[in-house]
Symmetry: C2
Subunit: 643 residues, 2 copies
Amino acid sequence: MFKVTFKFEHGQNVEGFALAGESLLDVAKKMNVAIDAPCNGNAACGKCRVKLIGGELDTKKTMHISDEEFAQGWRLACVSKISADVEVLVPDIASAYRSRMKVADLSSAEELQIFEKTKSDIIDAGIKFENDFKVINLTMEEPSLDDTMPDNERLMWAVEAACGVSKAKLSFAVLQKLAETLRKSAFDVKCIVTDGEADEVYVLDVLPGNEDAKVCGMAIDIGTTTVSAVLIDMLSGEILAKGSAGNGQIRYGADVINRIIEQQKEGGRKKLQNAIIKETLNPMIKEMCASIGILPQQIYRACIAGNTTMNHLLLGVDADPVRMEPFIPTFFETDSVQACDLGLNLYPHASVLISPNIGSYVGGDITAGTLASTIWNKEEMSLFIDLGTNGELVFGNSDFMMSCACSAGPAFEGGDISCGMRATDGAIEACVIDKDTMEPTFTIVGDEGQKPVGLCGSGIIDVISELYRCGIISPKGKFIREGDRVRHDQYGMGSFVLAYKEEAASVKDIEITEVDIDSFIRAKGAIFSAIRVMLQSLDFDVSMIDHVYVAGGIGSGINMRNAVSIGMFPDIEMDKFTYIGNSSLSGAYTILLSKEAEAKVSEVAHNMTYLELSNEPTYMDEFVASCFLPHTDAGLFPSVVLK
Amino acid sequence: MFKVTFKFEHGQNVEGFALAGESLLDVAKKMNVAIDAPCNGNAACGKCRVKLIGGELDTKKTMHISDEEFAQGWRLACVSKISADVEVLVPDIASAYRSRMKVADLSSAEELQIFEKTKSDIIDAGIKFENDFKVINLTMEEPSLDDTMPDNERLMWAVEAACGVSKAKLSFAVLQKLAETLRKSAFDVKCIVTDGEADEVYVLDVLPGNEDAKVCGMAIDIGTTTVSAVLIDMLSGEILAKGSAGNGQIRYGADVINRIIEQQKEGGRKKLQNAIIKETLNPMIKEMCASIGILPQQIYRACIAGNTTMNHLLLGVDADPVRMEPFIPTFFETDSVQACDLGLNLYPHASVLISPNIGSYVGGDITAGTLASTIWNKEEMSLFIDLGTNGELVFGNSDFMMSCACSAGPAFEGGDISCGMRATDGAIEACVIDKDTMEPTFTIVGDEGQKPVGLCGSGIIDVISELYRCGIISPKGKFIREGDRVRHDQYGMGSFVLAYKEEAASVKDIEITEVDIDSFIRAKGAIFSAIRVMLQSLDFDVSMIDHVYVAGGIGSGINMRNAVSIGMFPDIEMDKFTYIGNSSLSGAYTILLSKEAEAKVSEVAHNMTYLELSNEPTYMDEFVASCFLPHTDAGLFPSVVLK
């Protein structure tokens, strides 16, 4: 047994013990130390860097660590084995802690605009923005020796009379607190009710008449990488708080496949479910509630939008058949699940709505996003693109909709990129490079004076587009121009230094390498070729696209012009592009607040067909042809002219 | 801080620490050492005896401890304060551990007869003995790339087709295990289903087709003192196991009032709920399941019969209004409660039926017992008497039923009696005394050769009846004849030694004292006066009683002749009396197994009126007149002639 100490640039040390021969990454997992490991410990991504600062590690040098770095103590956790007591530094950029949770105030009007826009679009599409929560005030006769009706019957009678229904049902929680609540308030109470079946109402909660009834709801987008949520007043529709966090499952792999493999192991389903519910959602819910002074028990309904695998892992349902031919999920839609079934820290009988999946690789995030885009209500032909760890597309209009999914990898969210990161504080989200001096200028997420930490998706698009425009890289993404910022390592691999470590909030230079550029080109190629193949299968051409809705965590700073320049999106008029942000979240918000939208998303899901790209004979060729800047067929990008 | 060690005649020591000045009884409660304390620590009952065997206690001598006993180290835990390290012996008779749990095999045909008899009576009364559990076998097409219906829809379609209903609903547990179960069994499964609402079925569980589907149910009687249960095969109706245990709430007081006071304290409701669910029911369920080789998760429905307070404490519902004027329970009936709401270790979605209460002092044990007695179906006038910690009566026939309750105290179950105990191993359940030699002869519960430990209710009836018949005690219960076995203490209090400690499995002589006799006379007086007053209120006379059904934990050895002799029951023909055992349990068994009985008990509850005895002007006089052997008005007991 050896002592292992994890140190952080910010935060407390974590100490524990491990056996000789255990991998440092596995030890970190066991000790709940989150080290980003997108490739799940296969020494492929080079992201699980730690710095040896004391003791020893039995380690190998890999291509991801330079000699200089190795001399400084940098190691990949996945290939380092315990051989003695050891102390390692987990650097900021590798630590999922830093980006783990963020609860935003709502001062940013921009944040709110997306929801306001979605709401008005949905209303314009003929959907009432109304839910079935009601608060009713009841004053009952107090019981006496001549009127000994038990409390529950007394309440049911009063509710039935007030709501004009034949039957009121009480939740178990109401039964448990009823005696106290009635007597504390002299039988003058407020009830929080919703519609039950047929001619019934369901009494979810009972409060003393003089207390404010705060009826909240929570819309949650569970992404493979990032989880986002908004806390909503169900009566006014007002957004009260917004939060986001890294998905705690990240330490079991960056993509859904690795997580499904992990959940297959003994106890794995519980472990993955705990990682999302207990380690990610519950702390985030607690923090969001605290930020506005309410209790999680005041959240009476939740709506969750996530991909099919995330939905299965959330419910503790075996996700293995999702990845194995013939790719059958346990469910597309579920009957209502309750918070207490999941251990989700909300009102125990809060129903948890789950935006429906339509297949193994097109899930509730896409049906929710499609709902929010309102393309199902338009005559014009729309293309909806969700840039997540998977890329999903929906194309169609009010007559038909087709969806498909492609594996873009985590590059759009900064994964698989040496200095990649999510679009949080310190992320370079936009970049311009001076063609003459090759000096870059950035826009950085965060407060003024924030130093760069890494590159988020929209920043990578800009950097690659600018490097290409300035002739620094070739159409294949290789460095072809010399300069101070251009370096080549011993293997000849080129890189471009965006910020020297002195200028950065990082322990090393922030650079983009040929490997990074290659990763990103393959990601954008997957998207573009998917668009091409889906349109071809329908006998459509990109010129027939009336509108493109771009969604996802790539960052609101996405420059559509640059995205077209690198051949990620089709070369059509710029005014046809709209960035709609996290449409999975705005869709969940819509379903939560509108009973009609809840029915509509189910209809949208039923009406959507699915195209399995891997069954399309042209896909592989199209993908290969798309792995250039902008494309091997330059004729597809007439507007892209190198200046 | 001092070290406190509890030792037991059987079982392991329990050690802990306590502050100077804490009462030993409180310390025992905190350390989960069950010491019987029927009066809840008021130095009134003298039951919480422990023997000081090491260290010191700051203690008072009370009237319950003789000088000799005090010299031997006997102390009452409730009046003993911690003042140093201490070791005490918790004797068998005082330890609730001993009688805490018993899982019977079903070799005793007598045990089963009561249930068989109840079943045939219920069927004779026109109630179908059928429930809605079904096991259906389903073989589905396996999914393929051309048939990608998700698992839950595939199962629902198959169930709907098999059952001919329009909708199948799946429990959350089914959703969680569906993928695995289908694939383990090549889509050949068994489903356990019940009727849902209207044209629906509810799928409770899914199992591989080649596994046996064991569908069990559990009927539970929750008595204030004792909990009993039977485990039943829901498909065949067979009784698979029987169990009983002391109610773990006993350490918070012997009667409902003390427990209600305890649950009013901070955290008290949870504490009382844990005592019955986690400490009593769950271990008993586990043991019963183990005895027949099934899992608690194979119990898919439970039916509970208990008094109104027990039902409230079980559900974690505030019981205080039950004891405070105007005596309003939270519920008479509840919508279905699920096992997972209560933390009851059964199938999580098992519904927990609760036999309905009809008032604060007539609960589900009485409605279940009345159901089992079938007096609601007879033209003849029947009197149903349940002898528990409270005595409850129901009088009537198919036209009307009236109920009332009287506080008999715990004497019928051996409480408040110096050598009293429940009707478990070692209990003297019957006794004859030779009039000349005054030598007693016993029938003792347990295997042959079992030495006496104490006296259960039926034994006390016999002893008092025999002492009176032999002229050893007066009609007031005072000792009036001298003999070897008759003793008087320094205060002049008489007692009769039933077994010297050498003959007994006890650390002291087994005797009955004048205080015991007085307690019991008041208990039997409460019952008899309740019968008189209820009949008077209806203008009936005891001669108009066609049949008396006696139920309760007093012991199956109850001698009706002796019970009449001491004036506990009215002096009518002996063949009118029937002991029906634990009718609360046999009623719960009936409700569990028969949907029609479930509806019937609700009807019985609605049709039963309640007489509040304390509002009857004659009750107090009747009670006082009944506190003699057999009664101050000997004319009421013409058949009782002293020989």
